[in-house]
């Protein structure tokens, strides 16, 4: 197995780990980190697979650079929103849609509005 | 653009434009709104007069506009279209006058008359549609434009009636659309063709055509209130009286019946439909509807509900006429399209007058009403006698041609259906006449709103329209053989649909 393929395989593994993290974890911060793991996995595959002949290909390098910039922006936005969420509710996770908790809260909100 | 192209458009615009302007008018501009309504109705009547003269002289009016490859909006003002156009234009004029009087102090009149004009616009489109696509466009527009009128009063009953109306008509529309696109897929654009579009195309699968026929008839049958698709009509009677007139005589049920006429004669072709075995089931359904509607009417105490079931029954006379193979039945059915409209609108105008003037809604409250409102009751009596098919009324003419058509088509059982229905009609109308003329009036009316002034038993605008249509009911029968009667026009149509057989 060439070095490139090892990188690619590691990238796949990281991607799956990250994906699992985003979908399964509860804490927002962990989910944001997991998303970064996903992105890194994809970047690793991109450079890894393109290195088959041992000569580096400049195109995927450029792509990964661009991708990193995008990922940084996304992470910044996610962190801002998470902080704002924490400041508003004091919580570190968001309930999943359809949770009993969130429905009860929604109904309480509605009742408050009607009361006004 | 030649005049033969713009005349049909002008007929449509003569109600569309006033309608759109009326929507934008503030509620208090009564005079301007009334002027617009009347100007539109009169202009339409004049334009229709021009069309009639042209078509009688053999001119062809029409227009097409492609909106997508293979999909065209086509207008065609042929003799059959004009039958319906004329009926609606004339009755619209009366209904507009009546509605102006009826809604004198009601709220939201701009909205009401706006949708009212849209309804008539849609009806004109249905009448002059030259293919199934155009027909469908205006057919659904009619559904949408009538809904706000049915729920106009905003009461819980009106809401219920409106919902039921929509449930039936939208579902019917879906069936119709399925049928139309299927047909379009098999045989190209569903152009209305004299002698039948499908009759001229060889190699179509009969079973598929029968299925499509069922879909199409179910679609238009909802508006024509064929049993078992009639449930909405008695519920929709909660609407104000001018709307009932619109539903029962001018637009909605007529649009359904007219659709059946177009589909049988000009999509399938009467002979082709006969060879596919489609006419007998249609005749049976019509017969069942005739008897069912009449027998349900017998047990209604609510006057408008009784009239509504009577409509269910009477509209199927038209369907029965269509299903009787041969020119005589065709003439009977088509002439009843006009005659039923004139008679039923008279009855609904009168029912509206009783309700507005005295607060009478039920048959049991009508004791002696003939003494308090003789002219209205006279008009009502003429309409009712016409429905029974009494001599010298429009109803008698229709029934005579239908009976002849039935025996010519070898369906003698249909004559018995017609006789049975006449008996039932008598059974539910004669007790009303008996109460109204011969019983003593009660000391107090349920809710007397309009007090008599001299010989004027109610407001002029409420009184004149039913008197006019009552006179028409008799006139179309007395002058049936003149060359300007609906009957003469219908014979012209029948000659064109059956070029080989002279009636």
């Amino acid at each position: 197995m060439s070095a490139g393929l090892i990188y690619a395989a590691t990238g796949c593994l990281l991607f799956v780990l990250g994906l699992g993290g985003v979908l399964l974890l509860k804490a927002l911060l962990r989910r944001i980190l997991a998303f970064n793991l996903m992105g890194s996995g994809a970047f690793l595959v991109l450079v890894g697979l393109a290195q088959r002949d041992g000569t580096p290909d400049p195109v995927p390098q450029a792509m990964v650079l661009t991708g990193i910039v995008v990922a940084v922006a996304a992470t910044a936005l996610a962190l801002t929103l998470a902080r704002r969420w924490h400041a508003l509710t004091g919580r570190e996770d968001i309930a999943r849609v359809g949770d009993a908790g969130s429905r009860a809260r929604r109904m309480a909100n509605d009742r408050r509005k009607v009361g006004r | 653009m030649t005049s033969n192209q713009w005349l049909p458009l002008a007929v449509i615009a003569s109600s569309l434009l006033p309608g759109l302007i009326i929507f934008a008018l503030p509620e208090k501009r009564v005079a301007l709104r009334t002027a617009l309504n009347l100007a539109g109705a009169l202009a339409k009547a004049g334009l229709v007069g021009l069309l009639i003269a042209g078509v009688a002289a053999g001119e062809e009016y029409g227009l097409r506009h492609a909106i997508a490859p293979g999909i065209e909006i086509v207008f065609k003002a042929d003799a059959l279209a004009l039958l319906f156009v004329t009926l609606s234009a004339v009755l619209w004029l009366f209904t507009t006058l009546y509605a102006i009087g009826y809604l004198e102090h009601a709220p939201h009149r701009s909205r009401f008359f706006g949708f009212f004009s849209l309804c008539v616009t849609a009806t004109m489109g249905i009448a002059m549609a030259g293919n199934l696509f155009t027909f469908f466009v205006f057919y659904e527009l009619l559904t949408l434009a009538t809904f706000p009128l049915v729920v106009h009063r905003g009461t819980p009953q009106a809401m219920r009636g409106g919902s039921i109306y929509l449930a039936y008509t939208l579902a019917g529309g879906a069936a119709l659309l399925a049928g139309i696109v299927w047909l379009d897929h098999l045989a190209g654009p569903g152009e209305f063709t004299q002698g039948g579009l499908l009759a001229a195309i060889p190699g179509l699968d009969p079973l598929t055509l029968q299925l499509i026929f069922a879909l199409l008839i179910a679609g238009v049958g909802v508006k024509a209130a064929i049993v078992p698709l009639h449930g909405w009509l008695p519920q929709a009677m909660v609407a104000p009286a001018p709307v009932s007139a619109l539903l029962h005589a001018v637009a909605v049920v007529k649009a359904g019946a007219f659709g059946i006429v177009r589909i049988v004669y000009e999509i399938y072709g009467i002979e082709f439909a006969q060879s596919l075995g489609l006419l007998l089931p249609l005749a049976v359904i019509a017969a069942v509807t005739i008897l069912w509607g009449s027998s349900r009417a017998l047990f209604q105490n609510d006057l408008k509900k009784r009239l509504a079931f009577s409509t269910v029954s009477q509209v199927s006379y038209i369907v029965l006429g269509v299903a009787l193979f041969g020119p005589l039945g065709t003439i009977g059915g088509l002439v009843h399209l006009v005659h039923q409209g004139i008679m039923k609108i008279t009855l609904f105008f009168c029912a509206g007058n009783y309700a507005e003037t005295l607060g009478i809604h039920k048959v049991s409250e009508m004791d002696g009403v003939g003494r308090r409102m003789p002219l209205t009751t006279l008009a009502f009596s003429i309409g009712a006698l016409g429905m029974m098919g009494a001599p010298l009324t429009a109803g008698a003419v229709s029934k005579a041609w239908l009976s002849d058509g039935a025996s010519a088509a070898g369906m003698d059982w249909a004559i018995w259906v017609l006789w049975g229905s006449s008996l039932l009609n008598a059974a539910y109308f004669l007790p009303i006449l008996h109460r109204a003329w011969l019983k003593l009036p009660p000391p107090d009316w349920p809710h007397e709103e309009i007090h008599p002034v001299g010989r004027r038993e109610t407001a002029w605008l409420l009184l004149l329209p039913p008197l006019f249509t009552a006179v028409l009911t008799v006139a179309v029968a007395l002058f049936a053989d003149s060359s300007f009667s609906p009957l003469a026009w219908v014979r012209l149509i029948a000659e064109r649909e059956y070029p080989n057989i002279s009636p």
Binding site: L46, M63, R106 | A68, I71, H108, G154
Partner: protein, 483 residues
């Protein structure tokens, strides 16, 4: 044409430019900048329309750099229709938003809108898979920012959920791009169309699956719709309209492009594959309509209606073999729904703003005091129900025709019953609006809203209906598309 005047480049540069200026001006001149900018974009699209109509497809190399390092922009009939829809709806919504936010504009509303439009235009014009990834992210991040602009806890939660969904979607897409580049050494969509064959290695099938699934997640096709109703239903009305009318269409457009272009060989090798999006679409129509029928709040009703209407777009995939018909049906539906849904959301916004209640029941009696907004809502409803003469009707007609031609009658049944279900939720609102208000006469009637709020909604709704009567040029443009 000199590169400086090329409308293709300006369609991306202009929104970036005015968005940056709006950001620097700190919202003071936001509305004017936006209106001028979007107006300019609309002119660019119109300039482009003539070229595309005569040449079929035109391209542009940004900065004169050749591929693979250079960025190639292409426009054909399909992208032109989407561009036209985007600028047209955005311009009307900008007018609405200017009036809607007359007191306080949410922070960064105008700059984010500009970046969103830049991302969308770039998405419609990009011809390589990696650039498309960047545009997808730009659209996604700007949209999330807009959802959060409301600032309340519910909106932040909706934005976070939306962000995670969109990031997973674009992550999957990026992973697919990596696999494709690893297999073929190019990301050009047009080159890949001829490179990928039915004997493609497993990695390419995996890439296709990941990219398309990622896009479904972003388009909120059932079962990935969970993020849409809170995000679209909770945002301020102009944002909801922008997201529901346009943003979800962008990822659908990309799905369609990939399906017809690079992955055409894969879907032809396994025709049953096309039934998957169609089956999901059919379920979405039924489920979304059901939730809309049951919805308690007005904007949730409209948002669930989006879930349902997006389903129609995916019904076309098993029918694409029948020539241009199915593609025309899909794009016409996307266009008509875009106009109608924008109209419906802004009309709902006005009804809620004036009526003071965000519940469906709050509409009661609105026919009397908000006739124009209600009429706009009703006209938009006509399009959603697919009744004539609206664009939605023509789309449904073409869809049924294509389904009959392809021998897939079940799609006919789904399309027709979807229209009836839409009738139930649309008339649920209209019926209430006609109800006599239960309040007593001494309650003062609510103040009339600014005319602009009502008439922008009306213009959008009227557009969605009239497009049914004037669809011929649009359909001709789509028929000329070479995948």
């Amino acid at each position: 044409m000199t590169p400086l005047l090329d409308p293709l480049a300006w369609l991306i540069l202009l929104p970036l430019l005015w968005a940056t200026l709006a950001f620097l001006a700190a919202d003071r001149h936001g509305p004017m900048l936006a209106l001028a900018g979007i107006g300019g974009q609309l002119l660019c699209v119109i300039a482009l329309a003539g070229d595309v109509a005569s040449h079929g497809s035109i391209g542009h190399l940004a900065g004169g750099w050749a591929e693979p390092l250079g960025i190639r922009l292409v426009a054909d009939g399909l992208s032109l229709v989407m561009l036209l829809l985007t600028q047209g709806v955005a311009l009307t919504l900008a007018l609405y938003a200017r009036s809607y936010f007359s007191q306080a504009t949410p922070p960064a509303f105008w700059p984010l809108t500009g970046f969103l439009l830049a991302g969308m235009n770039a998405l419609f014009l990009s011809g390589d898979l990696f650039n498309l990834y960047v545009t997808l992210e730009l659209v996604g991040l700007a949209a999330v920012g807009l959802v959060a602009a409301g600032g309340g806890a519910a909106q932040i939660a909706a934005a976070l959920r939306y962000l995670l969904a969109t990031l997973v979607g674009s992550g999957a897409y990026l992973f697919g791009v990596a696999l494709i580049y690893g297999s073929y050494g190019t990301v050009s969509a047009s080159l890949l169309g001829s490179l990928i064959t039915s004997e493609a290695p497993l990695a390419v099938w995996l890439a296709g699956g990941l990219m398309l699934t990622g896009l479904l997640l972003k388009t909120a096709l059932l079962p990935f719709h969970f993020w849409l109703p809170p995000a679209h239903g909770g945002a301020p009305a102009p944002v909801s309209a922008l997201l529901s009318a346009l943003v979800v269409k962008a990822s659908f457009y990309l799905f369609l492009r990939l399906w017809l272009g690079p992955f055409a060989a894969l879907s032809e090798a396994l025709p049953a594959l096309a039934q998957v999006p169609a089956a999901l679409g059919a379920t979405a129509i039924l489920w979304g309509s059901w939730r809309a029928i049951r919805a308690d709040r007005l904007k949730m009703l409209v948002a669930y209606s989006t879930v349902a209407q997006l389903g129609y777009l995916f019904l076309i995939f098993p029918l694409l073999g029948t020539g241009a018909l199915a593609l025309q049906a899909g794009i016409l539906q996307a266009t008509a729904h875009g106009l109608a849904k924008a109209a419906m959301f802004v009309a709902a916004g006005t009804l809620i703003k004036v009526g003071g209640s965000d519940r469906v029941l709050g509409v009661a009696g609105a026919a009397a005091h908000l006739p124009v907004s209600l009429f706009a809502f009703a006209l938009a409803g006509v399009t959603l129900m697919g009744l004539p003469p609206s664009g939605g009707f023509l789309a449904k007609w073409l869809l049924i025709d294509a389904a009959l031609a392809a021998g897939q009658p079940w799609i006919v049944v789904v399309a027709l019953s979807g229209g009836l279900l839409a009738g139930i939720y649309v008339f649920r609102v209209l019926r209430l609006a006609f109800r006599r208000p239960t309040t007593h006469d001494d309650v003062p009637l609510p103040q009339r809203p600014a005319a602009l709020l009502e008439w922008t909604a009306f213009a959008l709704a009227a557009g969605s209906v009239l497009i049914g009567l004037g669809a011929a040029p649009l359909l001709a443009l789509i028929a000329g598309v070479q995948p």
